[in-house]
C-alpha cells in the first residue's frame, strides 16, 4: 500500500515542543492514522462491510426472515423443491421450507459459535503462551509439549471426539472446537513474549523494581496485542467453517435449529437436481469467511506493519 503525499508525516506532528498546534491527544492521532490507512484499502473496507452485513443478519436474521414459521420447524409440503423465484429467492427445500429464511436464521448459530470458539481459544492460548514464554524453564517445556501434542491431533477429529463425549448442542460444540484451537494462539503469544522479554524497556522495568506480573501485564502483553487481534479475525472464518464441518458430519447443532453445515449436509442428497438447497447455504458460508479474512488482512496491515507484503 503506498502512502499518499497528503498524509501528514506521523513523526513531525507533535515532536516539536514549540509546536502547540497539535492539541489532539496522541492516542486519538494514532487511532485516526490507523483508520485512515485502513480506509485506503478498498479490500479491507469491503471485508468490513461484509462482516457488518453478516453480524447484522446474525442479530436480526430470524426477525427479518420472510417465513419465520419455517425456522421453528414448520413445513409446507405443497411447495417442495421450488426453484428460486421472487417469493423464494433461494428456493425451497425437501420440506418446502424457504431456504433464504433458514440461511438467515443459521447465520446466528454459525457466527455466534465462530466468535465463541475464537474468544475461548484466545483467552486460553494467551494465558498459556504468556506463562510459558515469560516464566520459561520446565513450565515452558511442559506447556509447549502439551500444545505440540494437541497440534498433532487433527482438529476436526479431536472436536468430533470431544463433542461426541459431551453430547450434542451448540455450547458443547464450541467447547469441543476451542479445546483444539488454543495451541495456535499459545505458540503465537509465546513467541511474541519471548521476543519482547529481551527489549530494553522490559529490562528497564526490572531495573525499576517492578514485579514480574506487572512487567508481564503492563509492558509485555500490551505490546503483543496486535498480532493476537489479527489472528482472531483471521481465525473466525476458519472457526465458522469448522462449525459447519461438524454440522455436516452430524455432530453439533441438531435440526430443526438451522445451521449452515447441517443445511448443506441434508441437501447433498438432492444434488445436482435441486442445487439451490445446497448452493445458497454454501455461498453464505463463503461470504462470511471471505469477509472475516479480508477484515483480518486489513487489520494486519494496520496493526502489524511488519507483516505487510
Amino acid at each position: 500500500m503506498s502512502e499518499p503525499s497528503k498524509q501528514v508525516s506521523p513523526m513531525g506532528v507533535a515532536a516539536d515542543p514549540m509546536e502547540d498546534i497539535a492539541v489532539e491527544s496522541a492516542r486519538r492521532l494514532a487511532w485516526r492514522r490507523a483508520v485512515f490507512r485502513f480506509r485506503q484499502s478498498s479490500l479491507s473496507m469491503l471485508g468490513l462491510a461484509m462482516v457488518l452485513a453478516v453480524l447484522f443478519v446474525a442479530v436480526f436474521g430470524s426477525a427479518l426472515a420472510p417465513f419465520p414459521e419455517h425456522i421453528a420447524g414448520g413445513v409446507d409440503t405443497g411447495n417442495r423443491f421450488m426453484p428460486p423465484s421472487l417469493a423464494h429467492p433461494f428456493g425451497t427445500n425437501e420440506l418446502g421450507q424457504d431456504v433464504l429464511s433458514l440461511v438467515m436464521a443459521g447465520t446466528r448459530v454459525s457466527v455466534l459459535a465462530g466468535l465463541g470458539i475464537v474468544l475461548i481459544a484466545t483467552v486460553l492460548g494467551t494465558v498459556i503462551g504468556a506463562v510459558a514464554g515469560f516464566f520459561g524453564g520446565w513450565l515452558d517445556e511442559v506447556l509447549m509439549r502439551i500444545s505440540d501434542l494437541q497440534l498433532t491431533i487433527p482438529g476436526l477429529i479431536f472436536a468430533m471426539a470431544v463433542a461426541a463425549a459431551l453430547g450434542a448442542g451448540l455450547f458443547n460444540m464450541v467447547i469441543a472446537i476451542s479445546l483444539g484451537w488454543w495451541p495456535g494462539f499459545a505458540r503465537l503469544v509465546r513467541g511474541e513474549v519471548l521476543a519482547k522479554r529481551e527489549e530494553t524497556f522490559v529490562v528497564a522495568a526490572y531495573a525499576i523494581g517492578a514485579h514480574p506480573l506487572r512487567i508481564l501485564f503492563r509492558h509485555i502483553l500490551p505490546n503483543i496485542i496486535s498480532p493476537v487481534i489479527v489472528k482472531m479475525s483471521l481465525d473466525i472464518g476458519f472457526a465458522i467453517l469448522t462449525v459447519a464441518s461438524l454440522g455436516f458430519v452430524g455432530i453439533g447443532v441438531r435440526p430443526p435449529t438451522p445451521e449452515w453445515g447441517t443445511l448443506l449436509s441434508i441437501s447433498r442428497s438432492y444434488m445436482p437436481d435441486f442445487w439451490w438447497t445446497a448452493v445458497f447455504p454454501g455461498l453464505a458460508m463463503f461470504f462470511a469467511i471471505f469477509g472475516f479474512n479480508l477484515l483480518g488482512d486489513g487489520l494486519r496491515d494496520v496493526l502489524d506493519p511488519r507483516a505487510r507484503r
Binding site: A14, P17, R27, E199, T200, V203, A204, Y206, A207, G209
Partner: protein, 263 residues
C-alpha cells in the same frame, strides 16, 4: 556507597549438536569503589565488560564470584522483595532511547511507574505522583504538555530526557549511565550532558558513567577507570589519568584522543 569487590563473570560455553561455543570470561576480578556524590567514569571498548558490570550492579546478571555491596548491603543476600525495594535506590539510563521506553505507555505512565512501584517507600498518592511527574519533566527540560504524549512522538534527545526523568522518579542515590549520549547527535549530546551535570549539582546524585568516549568522560567525571577485556587496567582521578597515564593501554587511548578543548 558502591563497592565492587573482585567480581568475575563467566558466561558458560555451549556444547550442542550444531557446534559449540567456548565460555566467555566477561569480568575478571573487577574491583571498584564509588563514593557518594562523585561521578565515576568507566571507559572501555566494545566487549570489554562494561555492560556486564552494569547488569551485575543492577543484579540483572548474577556474578560468578565476588561481591557487590551497596550502602553496606551485599546484593547477593537480598530476598527478591528486598531487592525490588533496593532498586529504587539504583537507577539506570540506557544507551538507546528508542528502545528503552514502552511504546504503549504515555510519558505520564512511564515517569510515574517507578513511584507507583515504590509507593510504599515514597508514600505518594496518585495525585502527588502526577504532580511529581510534571515536576520531573520540567527538571529535565520538558513540559507538562508532554505528559500525555507517547514515546514515538519525541526525538532521541527528548526521549533520553524522559529516561532521565524516569530514573530520577524514585529518588535514587546512584544513577548508572550506560553510554547515555552515544546514540544522540553531537549537539544534543552536549545538552544532555549539561543536564546531567546540572541535576547532579542540584540533587546530590552519584553517577557511574559508562562510556567509550574519553572526551565526555573527562568533561563529566571526577574519577575514572579503564577496563580492558574484563580487567581494570587503570584507575584514578580523571586529571591524573589523563595527564599521567600509567598503563600502556591508557597511554595509547589518551594519545589517540582528538585534541578538542572542552573547557
Amino acid at each position: 556507597m558502591l563497592e565492587v569487590e573482585q567480581v568475575s563473570k563467566i558466561f558458560p560455553g555451549r556444547k550442542g549438536l550444531f557446534g559449540s561455543s567456548p565460555e566467555v570470561q566477561a569480568l575478571k576480578g573487577v574491583s571498584l569503589r564509588i563514593a557518594k556524590g562523585e561521578s565515576f567514569g568507566l571507559v572501555g571498548e566494545s566487549g570489554s565488560g562494561k555492560t556486564t558490570l552494569t547488569r551485575s550492579i543492577l543484579r540483572l546478571d548474577v556474578p560468578t564470584s565476588g561481591r557487590i555491596m551497596f550502602e553496606g548491603e551485599d546484593l547477593a543476600t537480598l530476598t527478591p522483595a528486598a531487592l525490588r525495594h533496593l532498586r529504587s535506590k539504583i537507577q539506570i539510563v540506557f544507551q538507546d532511547p528508542f528502545a528503552s521506553l514502552n511504546p504503549r505507555m504515555s510519558v505520564h505512565d512511564i515517569v510515574t511507574e517507578p513511584m507507583l512501584v515504590h509507593r510504599a517507600e515514597l508514600g505518594l498518592s496518585a495525585r502527588q505522583r502526577s504532580d511529581r511527574a510534571a515536576e520531573l519533566l520540567s527538571l529535565v527540560g520538558l513540559g507538562e504538555q508532554h505528559l500525555h504524549r507517547y514515546p514515538h512522538e519525541f526525538s532521541g534527545g527528548q526521549r533520553q530526557r524522559i529516561c532521565v526523568a524516569r530514573a530520577l522518579a524514585p529518588k535514587p542515590s546512584l544513577v548508572l549511565l550506560d553510554e547515555p549520549t552515544s546514540a544522540l547527535d553531537v549537539s544534543v549530546q552536549a545538552q544532555v550532558l549539561n543536564l546531567l551535570i546540572d541535576l547532579q549539582d542540584r540533587l546530590g546524585l552519584t553517577y557511574l558513567f559508562i562510556s567509550h568516549d574519553l572526551g565526555v568522560v573527562r568533561y563529566l567525571c571526577d574519577r575514572v577507570a579503564l577496563i580492558l577485556r574484563g580487567e581494570i587496567v587503570e584507575e584514578g582521578a580523571t586529571q591524573a589519568v589523563f595527564e599521567h597515564p600509567q598503563s600502556a593501554y591508557a597511554k595509547m587511548l589518551i594519545s589517540a584522543m582528538p585534541q578538542v578543548a572542552f573547557s
